[in-house]
Symmetry: C2
Subunit: 297 residues, 2 copies
Amino acid sequence: MTASNGEGGKPVVGFIGTGVMGQSMAGHLIDAGYSLNVYNRTEAKCEPLVRKGAKLKGGPGEVAADSDIVITIVGFPKDVEQVYLDPGGVIDRAKPGSLLIDMTTSSPELAERVYNAARPKGLGACDAPVTGGDRGAREATLSILVGGTVEDFNRALPLFKIMGKNIVHLGPAGFGQRAKLANQIIIAGTMLGMCEGLAYARKSGIDIQKLFDCLANGAAGSWSLTNYTPRILNGDFNPGFFVKHFVKDMRLASQSAKDAGFSLKGLETALEQYIKLENDGYAESGTQALYKLYCEE
Amino acid sequence: MTASNGEGGKPVVGFIGTGVMGQSMAGHLIDAGYSLNVYNRTEAKCEPLVRKGAKLKGGPGEVAADSDIVITIVGFPKDVEQVYLDPGGVIDRAKPGSLLIDMTTSSPELAERVYNAARPKGLGACDAPVTGGDRGAREATLSILVGGTVEDFNRALPLFKIMGKNIVHLGPAGFGQRAKLANQIIIAGTMLGMCEGLAYARKSGIDIQKLFDCLANGAAGSWSLTNYTPRILNGDFNPGFFVKHFVKDMRLASQSAKDAGFSLKGLETALEQYIKLENDGYAESGTQALYKLYCEE
């Protein structure tokens, strides 16, 4: 390994994207004794980490130039593309031998492009999107779905273990993203069924609390039903998971399925309904707000 | 109560419809000491109960004439209609003071019609569809969703407690059916998301077992995912719950939602996909066969 080492023989970690998720995740790495270089488009979001000892850098390229392992968790695929592939970006400026880990939920095709751009420059690259939300990030219980070579996976594993609990290597570059999109496709149908079923019940005059107590442990049961029904009953449509991010993920899944030559009618329907919800002004609400598309009460 | 009593002071129970579900449920009542009159269109399906001491009757009307409480669990709403409302049927021949309990999954509107036809003749009537499947029937752990008057519910309760575990009174006649349809709407979306997500993963080259191990306890988790993924992995598309019955239930739910003046896009999509599956020759398969609509492997 040509990489210089940080304190205690540990690699220096660059962390790009210190939003709700990234901030918790980067914090765990600092707590575990890693030296961090951090960057975020909105600089203020780096402050809590800087107070914990992280070094603030001026941009993705600068982070890469000064780190051995670069972790990114940003917003949209276009942000991933910019951070990694722009001139002066991460791949341009990373030291040979560095490992690049994108933890954004992004497109499998883009993960392959990043990998293919990194490889000839002597860089490793994994895609490693997560599930478990802000709470999973805070409590370091995330599931981490990894695509990449076995070698890169093993090198990233000590960091993954600090940030998550369920860490699975699913295949070559792009496979982490594919697994994450499969997860989102499953959730899309589940949320659709849940919100429609609860709205139908409410419109029928049924006491949803009673119905929930009766059905939650049966064949209609799901993580979504258990976690969102109480919020819906309380009129709590705060995120959890933002509608706008779910729409992004479903768009990626839809595109990826189409690229593979098949059509997922349930996913398309969920996506249409969530786009309607977004257009109704709920982009910043939690995904349980889909209920309101059917039932305003 | 004008009703004659069976052995041990217990009401005589008529049981119409001794298929997979009814046979187990009626068996529990015999085991609990009730005298049973039984009828099934295919007579052979009554034999195990007759061997346990039930009396075989020649038709629904005859069952009703000789019983204090009549329980039905038949196939389709048209069967319910025939059994209850035909001349010489249950309502025609039931003794005044009898209680009629339909446990078929059927239409809320029909449940109201049965109730309204029963009432002027001095009969009680509940709709009490169940969830929990053949296993729930066998193990007497069914959830029973009840619509009807409080008085009728309380009178039926001792019988419900023998057949099920989770027994909930949700409102007047029709509300049991409405709750059951809400349950099926939730399941419709959940199955759609699950089958599409797993099919997408498989087509992407992902090891579904690995994916399942990683996702089953996360936000994509559901009863369906936990119970059906192992069957799909084993190529086991046997019922469980028949595709043709699920299509029936979703049609009822769709009609009921339309009657109430609103449209459930997710439900409609699931229904369309399951009708396609039926047309592909999978009517007698389990609902997990939806996976095969997307992925033949």
